[in-house]
Amino acid sequence: MKVLFSFLAVILLILVATMGAFITNLHYVFGIIIPYLAFAMFVGGFIYRVVKWGRSPVPFRIPTTIGQQKSLPWIKQNKIENPTSALGVIVRMAMEVLFFRSLFRNTKTELREGQNGPELSYGSAKWLWLGSLFFHWSFLIIIIRHLRFFLEPIPFAVQILESVDGMLQIGLPAIYLTDVFILVAVTYLFLRRIIVPQVKYISLPADFFPLFMLMSIAISGILMRYFYKVDLVAVKQLAIGLATFQPVLPTGIGPMFFIHIFLVSILFAYFPMSKLMHMGGIFMSPTRNMISNNRMVRHINPWNPEVEVHTYAQYEDEFREKMKKAGIPVEKE
């Protein structure tokens, strides 16, 4: 049911896009206005979400560490997993952002039939890590590759990335490795959610919707490249027009382009209000981005109220004479 809901939502969006693609009068809306709106919603919404998160106080150090803390000199500290320097934190964050360090430690828990009844067993589970890694890196490379439509002249790095991506030179136009990887990875991530019962139980429409969106974007892009071709030169003129704020709408681009760009626009507009915000959120993980110096440095809760204190020294100053008369010993004469 949850799957069906998301699926139908994406189908509806594809129908809207198809309508926009085949009605020429709507091309200005679908090719120029909606992409601009989506871009503004993406960047604006992203900044809004991050600032909102940033305003919540972070009172304590709450690192989750998997390495030896800095201790006695003859005990070797794990400087990356339990960092006491800013550099260590940067390396730990880079491992997290680039290689999904936490997910790599993912384990699965099973109740197995043992000799003396059921036994609890733990095992390593790397498939999710591998699928995510392939998906995210493919997506990143695909986005960078698309810069060839937005930049003129095209930077050398983008061209190199593109030729590496198409290095197998299968067919013409050459098949991109990332196109294959992203489809396989998204399919895996989807199947995992409907096949594994525990994961299925906790999956919501908000989990399926982005997966279907990504799938339809990838498929529309592949269809556009290999089957229902569009006029690339016209596409690039439109893209550069958008980037220079002098939008032009060349004729004869081809309907598949409008379907693709509409779906991408919807995904980007939806991005800040969805779980996809983990793109920004990962940098704000309090368990990962703080130096693990809980006890080395005194950390003061930022919202502690001013407490009025009356120390013993002040107390003695106040009552010294009376104390002396009553024969109570005082520290200072």
Binding site: L147, R148, F150, L151, K229, I240, Q246
Partner: protein, 160 residues
């Protein structure tokens, strides 16, 4: 805001990354490639031969597949005649058929491959197309490097 400085700095980097196209293209003219479909070389041909192998729309979308098919026919099957959708026959040859019209700006030597990497001074970008201007204008614009010129190259001795 707690750690506001770092968060704002990161957000500025985020916004900068996603607005690269706006800054990169700032003040540039949005000019696509100028593909000459009516060059001097084409005009010299008799009217019956001015039409390309297939229609311009078909060529724009499928020229790469057609060239691939031609390579297959000529190099692997020994077939050197292509019959187009109108039943007209063409010789399967990149240099003698395609480049007869679509070679370079210079009409004097239409069949000679022009290598812009060697002609344009100071350019040594290995990702650049070593194609005749006709191909390169679009291919450079959209960063597509054709594989044609790994076989169809001008021998170094001939260039001297």
């Amino acid at each position: 805001m707690y750690k506001g400085g770092k968060i704002f700095a990161s957000l500025i980097i985020f916004a900068a990354l996603f607005t690269i196209p706006f800054f990169y293209n700032m003040g540039k003219v949005n000019a696509g490639p100028d593909v000459a479909l009516n060059t001097a070389a084409i005009q010299q041909l008799p009217a019956s031969e001015q039409q390309c192998v297939e229609s311009p729309e078909f060529m724009r979308a499928n020229h790469m597949q057609l060239l691939n098919q031609w390579r297959e026919e000529a190099v692997r099957n020994g077939q050197t005649v292509y019959v187009n959708s109108q039943g007209k026959e063409f010789e399967i040859s990149l240099q003698d058929t395609c480049l007869k019209c679509h070679a370079t700006e210079s009409a004097s030597k239409p069949a000679v491959l022009n290598n812009p990497v060697s002609t344009t001074a100071g350019v040594s970008n290995p990702a650049l197309n070593e194609s005749p201007e006709f191909c390169a204008s679009c291919h450079d614009y959209s960063a597509v490097k054709p594989q044609c010129w790994s076989c169809h190259f001008e021998p170094k001795e001939a260039a001297k």
